[in-house]
Amino acid sequence: MPMNASDIERMIKEKFPDATVTIQDLRGDGDHYAAHVISAAFKGKSRVQQHQMVYQALRGNMGGVLHALALQTAPPED
């Protein structure tokens, strides 16, 4: 069963309460999403680390139920 956008947003915000999360359903099929996540937790982390942190927040759903999530992460601009 595909995940809906609000589940994805909720899981990310549970781990990063300060985050600004923007989710787009790319094809309207509940299976291909793009997420843009901005959080102070990403400060000083490499892109790989930032994405790994988001994947951890999604607890194993990425690559499984959620097969296509285009991810963009960044710390907030000062």
Binding site: V48, H51, Q52, Y55, M62, G63, G64, Q72
Partner: protein, 111 residues
């Protein structure tokens, strides 16, 4: 987890080859749009790379995800270092960072 025999094979591949792309399908016939996108970027930059098809071996397909702690394919390695998946490679290509990184690592021979 660390005694997974596939890990030794992965370590050898990323040590023996300067640029390695774990992908679905082959560079000539990618079998997934995300893999195809990274092949296209690397070809556009003109860097030589070894494509390893994870679809040909289920233990490698799972093993590389554990090895990199990364849930998806494709995965790009440069000189033994994990650079990222499709999103990161694309973002780095767009900002010019990818080319910079490849020249810094000395793997970009073409001008």
């Amino acid at each position: 987890m660390s005694d997974n025999p596939v890990f030794d094979r992965i370590k050898q591949d990323i040590n023996d080859n300067q640029v390695v792309l774990y992908m679905k399908g082959t560079p000539v016939f990618p079998q997934c749009g995300f893999s195809a996108a990274v092949v296209q970027i690397l070809s556009h930059i003109g860097v030589k790379f070894k494509g390893i098809d994870v679809l040909s071996d289920p233990s490698l397909r799972d093993g590389i995800k554990q090895f990199s702690d990364w849930p998806t394919i494709p995965q790009l390695y440069v000189k033994g270092e994990f650079i990222g998946g499709c999103d990161i490679v694309r973002e780095m290509f767009e900002t010019g960072e990818l080319k910079e990184l490849l020249s810094e690592k000395g793997v970009l021979t073409a001008a």
